[in-house]
């Protein structure tokens, strides 16, 4: 395969550590809001309250991370001067605004113990904004020229969604007594299993494009993600219902694993952009296929 002095054809992202960290916090916020409302509907106040606080905290950290990554942080509000469906980042900024506004309102009213109906409304809005908040970041990375991200566009929203659900369940396990944390435990364990299967499926489907998930930093992070999330989920499943300490440790391990997973996807994008073979190879094959079918 020819290339220009082995130089990349496309640019790798200029995003720094805040962005994969945000993928984690945004997902945690979104899924926690849903978990909180679900617990409330199921009559599990303790779990509902914990998830509400976790969600509000994650929602509050998220915009700070995003703004800190900007080349011109003082212009962050330019994100909101338009509403633009072709830009997943713009759509996400609006979702985050709604989610953050709603979850912080709900958490504040919960703390103050006032305005119950307004609180319920805010919780509902946060729970509605939560699922898209947890999944749009998968579309955000997929909507680029980076082969491993763009070709993974079918799975990435699912993987990010599963990762978000796992972290929300796991975080709740850290703060809620085991007796009341049953649903959070099941969520964490189930989501970790789903995410593992989805990642495996994506890697298989992507073939050569997907090999970056087994190489370099992305490969190491993917392994760490599997070990931490898998180990944490196993601990939650076996001892999380009995021992508070095991639940806390298992929850923390799953959360760390999900953070590693986001980092792995993030680094994979850089590796995929850097080596021109990932860009040129599939495109050249496409041209040749088209040429054959035309000729």
């Amino acid at each position: 395969m020819s290339s220009y002095y082995g130089r990349p054809v496309i640019k790798e992202p200029v995003w720094t550590w805040q962005i994969p960290t945000y993928f984690f916090t945004g997902g945690l916020a979104g899924a926690s809001s849903v978990l909180s409302l679900g617990a409330k509907l199921a009559g599990n106040e303790r779990l509902s309250k914990s998830a509400l606080y976790v969600g509000a905290a994650a929602d509050a950290v998220s915009p700070m991370l995003l703004i800190a990554d900007l080349g011109r942080p003082e212009r962050f509000h330019h994100m909101l001067r338009v509403a633009k469906a072709t830009s997943p980042m713009n759509v996400g900024a609006w979702i985050l605004l709604v989610s953050g506004g709603a979850s912080s309102t709900a958490a504040a009213l919960e703390l103050l113990g006032r305005l119950k109906p307004v609180k319920l409304l805010a919780e509902t809005v946060a729970a509605l904004a939560g699922p898209p908040l947890a999944t749009y970041t998968g579309v955000l990375v997929a909507d680029t020229a980076i082969p491993v991200w763009h070709e993974g566009r079918h799975e990435l929203p699912w993987i990010f969604g599963a990762s978000a659900a796992a972290s929300a369940g796991a975080a709740a396990c850290m703060f809620v007594p085991p007796a009341e944390a049953g649903p959070a435990r099941r969520l964490a364990v189930g989501a970790v299993a789903a995410e593992g299967a989805l990642m495996q499926g994506m890697e298989l489907r992507l073939g050569t494009t997907g090999e970056v998930y087994r190489r370099g930093a992305a490969g190491k992070l993917a392994l760490a993600a599997k070990a931490l999330a898998g180990g944490g989920a196993a601990l939650l499943a076996t001892r999380g219902g009995k021992s508070r300490r095991s639940a806390a440790l298992g929850g923390a391990m799953v959360c760390a694993g999900e953070l590693c997973l986001r980092w792995s996807v993030f680094r994979a994008g850089f590796q995929s952009a850097r080596d021109p073979k990932y860009t040129i190879g599939p495109q050249r094959a496409r041209v040749e296929r088209a040429g054959r079918s035309a000729g």
Binding site: R7, S87, P88, V139, A142, T144, A145, P157, A165, Q283
Partner: protein
């Protein structure tokens, strides 16, 4: 069908007459007040700027090809932003800083850009860069000399090109000219000549700045079959909606599962 207030204009860069003088790179830098770069020696033929970036808006590629028996063939190509018909950079820009001008070109409004960097990996040609040196934080790329066009002048690079390798004009006219040029080269037996980005049916809807190349695009560092990522955005939003529903179902199941 997109319509423009003015006729859509662009570049036809005919690499078969490029002599690698870099007058375009210099004229571009001078006119657009671009900070210096490319001052380290790469050893890659005569190319020290290496790629299009925040501080390089015209980039001359040099390829020295040894061909059996035929001696050296020296390929030179002045690369530039393609001003795509379907521009990924413009689509994904969350602030609306990137916009389509009345000339059909794609330009970053520097008073709007907040340096989110989304356009950088979105461009299928790796054209845009975030300017860090000197400290700036915004993204920059070729404007097809928007200010000069407004004043009725041709872009600085085309003006400075001594061999007419860079031709500026209404896109329709350039396409006719390029077809004629390709036919001539084919008649003359020039091997490997092809137009790149002329076809309005390609993955980006055709380039506003297209090329005549003498070898495969990847030899010059160009993608052989670029596709605008937003072409698949409806599909991606469907995956998003399904996955979002999946979260709700999963969480509901976690509650129901405990009762049984």
């Amino acid at each position: 069908m997109t319509t423009y207030e003015q006729e859509r204009v662009g570049f036809f860069t005919d690499t078969s007459v490029c002599i690698g003088c870099k007058a375009c790179e210099v004229a571009c830098k001078e006119w657009n007040l671009i900070p210096q770069d490319g001052t380290t020696w790469t050893g890659e033929s005569y190319d020290n700027t290496s790629e299009l970036n925040a501080n390089t808006w015209r980039h001359v590629a040099f390829v020295e090809q040894e061909r059996n028996g035929d001696g050296l063939r020296w390929l030179m190509e002045s690369d530039v932003c393609k001003h795509c018909t379907h521009a990924a950079c413009l689509d994904v820009c969350p602030t609306g800083a990137l916009f389509r001008t009345e000339f059909g070109t794609v330009v970053v409004q520097q008073d709007i850009c907040n340096g989110c960097g989304y356009c950088v990996p979105a461009c299928p040609f790796g054209v845009l860069g975030k300017r860090e040196e000197p400290k700036d934080g915004r993204v920059w790329k070729c404007t097809l000399c928007y200010d000069r066009l407004k004043g009725g002048h041709e872009p600085a690079c085309a003006k400075a090109c001594p061999t007419n390798s860079i031709q500026f004009g209404p896109l329709d006219e350039l396409r006719v000219r390029a077809d004629a040029r390709l036919a001539k080269l084919e008649r003359d037996g020039v091997e490997g000549a092809r137009l790149y980005g002329r076809d309005p049916d390609d993955g980006v809807g055709g380039f506003g700045a297209f090329f005549l190349l003498l070898d495969e695009p990847e030899v010059y560092g160009l993608p052989p079959d670029p596709v605008v990522s937003t072409r698949h955005l409806p599909q991606m939003y469907r995956s998003l909606a399904a996955a979002a529903a999946g979260i709700v179902v999963g969480i509901a199941a976690a509650f129901v599962g405990g009762r049984s």
